[in-house]
């Protein structure tokens, strides 16, 4: 078997003009030529090696889900994984061709620039031993994200995970819906999971006998510890700061709720951020530079989205003021590139996902089917995961904010209160 693979590897190597054997490095990128405003056509050739079919299906699906490329999957029998017939793939509409070779311990990926009829970039990945296992799959997703960056200039988000609440437990799932499993025991009613930037921890709230508490779970060990010292009171909606060192959360006892900041892993006491004078101030979301928070406040008499500095100064209404009843904006989430805050807004009695631009306060409505809530950005600041009841039961959906394309992520038991991790691959 190994001799056979070696032969194939040699054949691939022989097919590549030596001068064009580029290996990508961070910060160095040679773009593909394709019509601006269109999506480049991409063909993923059959992948040789054990697990090749699985890897091929995953990469093809990840590139399709990126919404930035036109994946040409119906390529007929004339193409194999070994040689690239540039003329043929160009006729099929491809601007890029992806070729990959699997060995039991590695993945070798080559991206071809069809227009220039040469290799654009190559990359090697070490592969864990078990085909189809969670860590094996994450490497394949990582490769897909790199392929997307090679072709479009923007890194994909396939190598991420989404946490959510189902059936009284925190679940995590891959972006293609695979490997969906609980990460907490039953009981305690966890809510509002949020990722640590490293992807190693989740913070969340849970119901304790005399109040609601904040906890942090270490996903590598499964061990969880309660963060909040007070046995009573409401402690909810925790979120890690972008540097991972702090948690901002909602705290309230008998006089409204305010935002507080506490070290995520230290023992310093919590410091109060908002001064709500008995109103509700909740659902904090950090700006990517960690210096500001958007949050939901009822201080005007109904929930709206506000922004404040992390030290509590300069609180300011973000969502545009409108006269009349039935105004309710909540669940803000700041995009990783800092440009937009997504939120849910009651429109004709039903909640829809909207975005507001920080620069000019322009608002865009992104959904209209059913009740849509709790948007969370992907690391690409383009895709969003959110909860929708459009199928009759609450499930998570993923939306491309540029094209509007929506796909269902979860199936089965009702799912809600999601959070999208940062990239879990290697850059």
């Amino acid at each position: 078997m190994m001799a056979g693979l070696a032969l194939v590897a040699m054949a691939i190597a022989a097919a590549i003009p030596a001068a064009a054997q580029d290996t990508s490095r961070t910060g160095v990128h040679i773009g593909l030529n394709y019509q601006p405003g269109t999506k480049p056509g991409v063909i993923v050739l059959p992948i040789v090696g054990v697990g090749g079919d699985t890897a091929h299906a995953m990469i093809q699906r990840d590139l399709d889900y990126a919404d930035a490329m036109n994946v040409i999957s119906d390529i007929g029998p004339g193409l194999d994984g070994v040689t690239v017939n540039y003329a043929l793939v160009q006729k099929l509409g491809a601007a890029a061709v992806v070729q990959a070779l699997l060995t039991p311990s590695s993945l070798h990926v080559i991206v071809h620039d069809v227009g220039k009829r040469r290799v654009l970039m190559t990359r090697d990945y070490s592969l864990p031993a078990t085909v189809g296992a969670a860590d094996w799959r994450m490497v394949i997703h990582d490769a897909a994200d790199w392929i997307q960056q090679a072709i479009t200039g923007s890194r994909g988000v396939a190598a991420t995970r989404i946490a959510f609440i189902r059936d009284g437990q925190i679940y995590i799932t891959d972006t293609d819906g695979a490997d969906t499993r609980p990460v907490t025991q039953k009981g305690g009613g966890p809510l509002s999971p949020q990722w640590h930037p490293t992807g190693r921890f989740l913070t969340y709230s849970f119901f304790a006998p005399r109040g609601t508490q904040i906890a942090v779970v270490d996903l590598t060990s499964g061990g969880a510890r309660a963060l909040t010292a007070t046995p009573t009171g409401l402690n909810s909606t925790p979120t890690f700061s972008p540097d991972g060192n702090s948690i901002v959360y909602t705290h309230g006892e008998e006089n409204g709720t305010d935002l507080y900041l506490v070290p995520a892993f230290g023992s310093d006491p919590a410091r109060r951020i908002t001064v709500g004078h008995g109103t509700d101030n909740t659902q904090p979301t950090f700006s990517p530079d960690g210096r500001r928070l958007a949050f939901t406040s009822g201080r005007s008499g109904h929930p709206e989205v506000y922004i404040t500095n992390v030290d509590g100064t300069e609180p300011d209404l973000l969502t545009p003021f409108q006269f009349g009843d039935d105004i309710y904006r909540a669940s803000p989430n700041w995009s990783p590139d800092g440009r937009l805050v997504a939120f849910e807004s009651r429109v004709n009695g039903r909640f829809q996902i909207e975005t507001i631009a920080l620069r000019d306060r322009s608002v865009k409505q992104l959904t209209s089917d059913g009740i849509n809530e709790d948007p969370k950005w992907a690391p690409d600041s383009r895709h969003l995961v959110f909860t929708s009841n459009r199928t009759g039961v609450r499930q998570l959906f993923i939306l491309d904010s540029e094209s509007g394309r929506t796909r269902q992520l979860t199936f089965g038991g009702p799912a809600r209160l999601s959070a999208w991790s940062r990239s879990l691959g290697s850059p």
Partner: protein, 194 residues
């Protein structure tokens, strides 16, 4: 539906009846004292009837007491309801809370937990804060009426624990509520003196 509490007068009555009654179980019917041939059978019938009356009366008092204690417990755990998106105590809510005060005063060992809840509309996370406000409103009413704040815990369940499912106002209005749970001192409830 607003009605004055009838519990207090009932408890006064029950208390008086209990106080008037002997605490020990009634004595069994006395056996004839001597074997003399001239036993007065009508006197025996009278004393048997008397004993039965006392037994019935004591049993009735026990039932009344049990019923009064059940009414007191029921008043302690009676829920109050809220208008949509509001945490103000309604007039009905005030009457229900008023009925809890004398029972809490008569039983200083009781601790309660107020559980604030919401209907399912709106943000689940914002509803946790709204539920907390609803619990705090009931607690504030009780402490304003003299109950020690240390005896009352608040927890919000937001929209997480509906008692009625579905998307109709009937279900929503049942879910917008505070529940009251006795967490300590709930055995041997003393019925209120006033």
């Amino acid at each position: 539906m607003s009605r004055r509490s009838r519990v207090a007068p009932l408890l006064i009555l029950a208390g008086a009846a209990v106080a008037a009654c002997a605490k020990t179980p009634p004595a069994p019917a006395p056996a004839p004292a001597q074997a003399a041939p001239s036993v007065d059978s009508s006197r025996m019938r009278d004393s048997l009837a008397n004993a039965k009356r006392m037994a019935d009366s004591a049993s009735a008092e026990r039932d009344r007491l049990a019923s009064a204690m059940a009414a007191a417990r029921s008043a302690l755990v009676a829920k109050i309801f809220f208008d949509y998106d509001k945490s103000d105590i309604t007039d009905q809510g005030k009457a229900i809370l008023d009925a809890k005060v004398p029972i809490l005063n008569a039983n200083p060992g009781i601790r309660i937990r107020v559980e604030g809840n919401c209907d399912r509309r709106g943000s689940d996370e914002y509803n946790l804060a709204l539920g907390q406000r609803r619990g705090a409103a009931a607690k504030r009413y009780l402490t304003d009426h003299g109950i020690d704040a240390a005896r009352i815990d608040i927890i919000s369940y937001g929209a997480e624990r509906p008692v009625a499912e579905g998307d109709a106002e009937d279900a929503y209005s049942q879910n917008r509520r505070d529940e009251f749970v006795i967490v300590a001192g709930g055995d041997n409830l003393k019925v209120a003196a006033q």
